[in-house]
């Protein structure tokens, strides 16, 4: 393994009854990279996430983070779903510090960090608001800040913008890229939106169902920073064609 590998899966697989949710998969993710995973439902992408997060024990194989085995253990990744999962009874600030409260004490420094992050990314005025007062996009940003302040090097984002309208989604994608650049995290990003997977990533893993498996691992050569123009770049269109082909049953 290379010095900069953050996450490694070695022959990690999962079977539910007669269904192969995820074929034994081997994979390594570089530190600081942005990897998109794209595939239809049932291709095992969420199963893979749950195994990495430690919510699900794989049938076999090993998950390694920083070259340490973490198979079946929790508390080592940031994790965010399409549902923002903000708790309605806590303010924006207290939602951001939720992980600390659940695992120990929220210190003044944690609070300070939550406020700083919220202000930096445009939610400073909403620290004392309850989530019910926020729009969908704002809620997702709070959920992401909550993920960010866990200080986990690896962030697992499972279709975080899937429920947003197209306009908000594009704004959130650009925002996410900005935060990713600022904070130097490693991101694994599930989506079934091919454009989104290309727009965001350094690398796209294409997955396919029955059995759930990674069918292609595509390096994304598009230059950063990405802008609206990226979406009509000829290279963008080429990669998109390649992925679409794979998603509709073509061979790599």
């Amino acid at each position: 393994m290379s010095a900069s590998t953050l996450l490694e899966l070695r022959d990690v697989g999962k079977v539910f009854g007669d269904t192969v949710a995820l074929e034994p998969t081997t994979l390594s993710i570089d530190e600081g990279s942005f990897v998109a995973i794209v595939g239809p439902s049932g291709c095992g992408k969420s199963t893979m996430f749950n195994i990495i997060a430690g919510l699900l024990a794989p049938d076999g194989g090993e998950v390694r983070l920083h070259d340490q085995p973490v198979t079946g253990a929790t508390g080592h990744v940031g994790y965010m779903l399409q549902k923002d999962l903000l708790v309605p009874w806590r303010t924006v600030e207290d939602n951001i510090t939720m992980a600390k409260r659940l695992t120990g004490r929220v210190s003044a420094a944690d609070r300070g960090e939550a406020r700083r992050v919220a202000r930096q990314y445009g939610l400073g005025e909403f620290l004392r608001h309850y989530p019910s007062a926020l729009s969908g996009g704002m809620r997702q940003r709070v959920a992401f800040m909550r993920t960010l302040v866990t200080h986990q090097p690896l962030l697992l984002l499972d279709e975080p913008f899937g429920a947003l309208d197209a306009q908000t989604r594009l704004e959130m994608q650009q925002w996410l890229l900005q935060v990713w650049k600022d904070t130097e995290r490693t991101v694994l990003f599930i989506t079934h939106d091919v454009d989104e997977s290309i727009f965001l990533s350094d690398r796209v893993l294409v997955m396919s169902p029955r059995p759930g498996r990674v069918v292609a691992d595509i390096v994304n050569p598009l230059a950063r920073p990405r802008t609206v123009d990226t979406l009509v770049d000829p290279q963008f269109v080429t990669i998109k064609g390649q992925i679409m082909h794979l998603l509709h049953g073509g061979q790599p």
């Binding site: 997060a53 430690g54 919510l55 929790t74 508390g75 080592h76 990744v77 994790y79 779903l81 549902k83 999962l85 708790v87 309605p88 009874w89 806590r90 303010t91 939720m98 992980a99 409260r101 659940l102 695992t103 300070g112 406020r115 445009g122 005025e125 909403f126 620290l127 004392r128 608001h129 309850y130 019910s132 007062a133 926020l134 729009s135 969908g136 704002m138 866990t150």
Partner: protein, 291 residues
């Protein structure tokens, strides 16, 4: 209210806060008071128009006088009923929450205990009074037990229901963070159950006084609000019968309102967009300019 797209837009923008408070008070206090006044007017109207005899139904004024003129006798009895109601309610609420939590966490116990709980509510409460008196005597205890018996059931059912509907993705998220189960229970599952819990408590609160009165009728040795009323009835003192009924109703409504008040206080996020300032000790945004 989930779609405020304009950042910083407060609810009901453009209306002064004084005016808003006035409207709110008018709506939340004025309307219920008006409906009670109308009820009394209707009562008065029926008695006057149909020339109802005083021993069948008194006028509202007579019923109220029957209470105020005998206040020194009635007050200790009212206190007794309040005590039975409050003790019984608290016992029932604690028992109800405890049972709900245990049943939600141990599925085997849930299957085992649920039929017994339903059975307990099918027993006519009056039939329960006699054995309770035999066991516990004529003290305050049998009344408290009857009230608790009535109150715990809706609380248990609602807590159980609430706990089994907590978003599992949220529980999983806490697990991903590495949270111990007890913290997840206290910080996620319990607050997520606040709404059904208070529903159960409100149902319990409306029945609590009824339970206390049944207890007083069936297990009282002489001095209680229920027996006072029964005595007045025997003496054809209809005004006092109506008066004591009104007193019992007032106790019931007050207790219900107190529980509603507790809910409003305990669940500010259901009514507010912004947290109360100083709602938690040390929660001062010291580096934020004062508003």
């Amino acid at each position: 209210m989930t779609d405020v797209t304009a950042p910083g837009a407060p609810r009901r923008a453009g209306r002064s806060s004084d005016e808003r408070v006035t409207r709110k008070v008018a709506r939340n206090v004025g309307v219920p008071v008006l409906s009670i006044v109308l009820l009394f007017a209707l009562w008065q109207g029926i008695v006057v128009v149909f020339h109802v005899a005083p021993y069948i139904a008194p006028r509202p004024r007579q019923a109220i006088l029957a209470v105020t003129q005998n206040w020194s006798t009635l007050w200790p009895l009212v206190l007794g009923t309040i005590r039975e109601t409050v003790y019984g309610f608290i016992a029932g609420a604690v028992l109800g929450v405890g049972l709900g939590v245990i049943m939600a966490k141990v599925p085997v116990l849930q299957r085992l205990v649920y039929p017994v709980l339903v059975l307990s509510q099918a027993v006519p409460i009056i039939a329960l009074a006699a054995p309770l008196v035999l066991i516990l005597g004529f003290s305050v205890t049998p009344k408290v037990v009857i009230v608790a018996w009535i109150v715990f059931f809706p609380v248990t059912v609602n807590v159980l229901d609430g706990l089994s509907h907590v978003d599992q993705d949220l529980v999983n998220l806490a697990r991903v963070y590495g949270a111990p189960r007890w913290r997840t229970f206290i910080q996620i599952e319990i607050p997520a159950t606040a709404t059904p819990l208070f529903s159960g408590l409100k149902i319990g609160a409306t029945y609590a006084v009824t339970g206390a009165i049944i207890g007083e009728l069936a297990a009282s040795d002489g001095s209680s609000l229920a027996l006072y009323q029964e005595h007045a009835n025997t003496n054809l003192n209809t005004a006092a019968v109506y008066g004591t009924t009104m007193l019992m109703t007032v106790i019931g409504i007050s207790w219900f309102l107190l529980v509603v008040g507790a809910e409003v206080f305990a669940t500010p996020w259901q009514r507010r967009t912004v947290a109360r300032r100083g709602w938690r000790r040390g929660d001062r945004l010291e580096d934020e300019p004062a508003h």
